[in-house]
Amino acid sequence: MTLSTMLSTMSAGMLRSFAVFTLTLLGSLPLGMVVALLKKSRFGLVRAIINVYISVIRGTPLMLQLLVWYFGPFYLLGINIGDWRFPALILGFVLNYAAYFAEIYRGGIESIPVGQYEAAEVLGYSRTQTFMRIILPQVVKRIMPSVTNEVITLVKDTSLAFTLAYQEVFSLAKQISASQTSFMPFLIAGVFYFVANYVVEFAMSRIEKALDYYK
């Protein structure tokens, strides 16, 4: 197999890895905010559910969670959903990352001085306005470094999609390497992850710079 056929075979895997990455971020970034806000709910039951969710997600391997989402409906509930592989994969990733993002958001929200809330309250801002106009923009700036870390981890975690036999770039690398007795596929996969993360780092540092206009 020539290098170019190897590359073209693996590029399909790269696209699939990219799909998992993008869909996970699109789902988990907003969902994490919902979770973070629910964690501050005035209803004890809601807070308890959220706490259990976050500790289970953080306390078990993502690989295991993916298996549970895929096989759970059949083995645990006896339901046969049909071809549920890709939705289960994305569900697993989104719910996992949302838990981590929720904790980052919560830390950011709690780091905003109480004086900001009080100033907004005295000026007559509603609770929603206070959050959207005063608190959230400051939270975004503060959490950027932690979010960057999570996003970089996600790039590499997409390789866990192989658990559900999803042919992302790393599973393809393993297959081609075994069939061709070549180390090259692993190098290609390595370069792919590195370049992807380089782009992430670059993009995030641009965003951080754009937010540098105030302290």
Binding site: P113, G115, Q116, E118, A119, E121, V122, L123, G124, Y125, S126, Q129, R133, I134, P137, Q138, K141, Y213, Y214, K215
Partner: protein
């Protein structure tokens, strides 16, 4: 009468911070509240500006009741919507300024008038620039709070409160976080507002300032108003032993 606070009580747990305090402010009046820390001065301001809820008593703004004690002895407030109306009567300047760091100075001054009071951008900006001019910092309109000195930040905070056109402005130790050389510029601004007959209540440790600017001085200690009167009588001829003791500390 702009503000009447009648028989206000406030507890934090078992700690009674305000004990049956009554206190009125007339239109155009400047009232200074002095007293040792922990005497309840700040809590009184925070109750008046609805940052804290009272446990008993009555709060009346412009003849309209915002809170009162019901038959069962609990303090009840008007509903959410009405409370916003009451909030618009009062402005508060904090010890720590509490400017919004992500907004420019101009945006700090126009955001609430536009998005809370629904004023037009043109109108809000005109008011804001006028106020910044009065505060002597018109050239800072495009700067961000972190680029300003403490004294400038506090003047912005005063302008931000005034931009809402409140009936009464409260100051919670407005110069306590400032270096001594920056205190003067903030006090000068407050003094000028007094000359324009802005209704103000100032919690302060600046005795010469309180004496020079106020129409009335309240001395608070242990959650009660120990003594009140015109500044000359309170400062030069205090009747209560506790007041004399407190003022002696400042004479040294």
């Amino acid at each position: 009468m702009i503000l009447e606070m009648n028989n206000i009580s406030k507890r934090f747990g078992s700690n009674e911070v305000l004990k049956d305090i009554s206190f009125n402010v007339d239109k155009g009046e400047v009232v200074s509240i002095i007293g040792p820390s922990g005497s309840g001065k700040s809590t009184l301001l925070r109750c008046a500006t609805f940052l804290e809820t009272i446990d008993g008593g009555e709060i009346v703004y412009m003849g309209k009741r915002a809170a009162h004690t019901d038959a069962s002895g609990n303090a009840v407030y008007v509903d959410h919507k009405e409370l916003r109306q009451f909030r618009s009567y009062c402005g508060l300047v904090f010890q720590q300024f509490n400017l919004f760091p992500h907004y420019s100075i101009l945006k700090n001054l126009i955001d609430a008038p536009m998005h809370v009071q629904g004023r037009s951008k043109v109108e809000a900006e005109a008011t804001a620039m006028d106020l910044l001019g009065k505060m002597g910092i018109a050239d800072k309109a495009d700067a961000y709070p972190y680029q300003l000195s403490g004294g400038q930040q506090q003047r912005v905070a005063i302008a931000r409160a005034l931009a809402m056109k409140p009936e009464i402005l409260f100051f919670d130790e407005p110069t306590s976080a400032l270096d001594p050389e920056l205190t003067g510029e903030v006090l000068k601004v407050i003094r000028r507002l007094a000359d324009e007959h802005m209704t103000m209540v100032v919690v302060t440790h600046e005795m010469p300032f309180a004496k020079a600017v106020s129409n009335r001085v309240l001395f608070m200690d242990g959650g009660v108003v120990v003594e009140q009167g015109d500044p000359i009588s309170v400062f030069e001829n205090p009747q209560e032993e506790r007041t004399k003791q407190f003022l002696r500390v400042f004479e040294r």
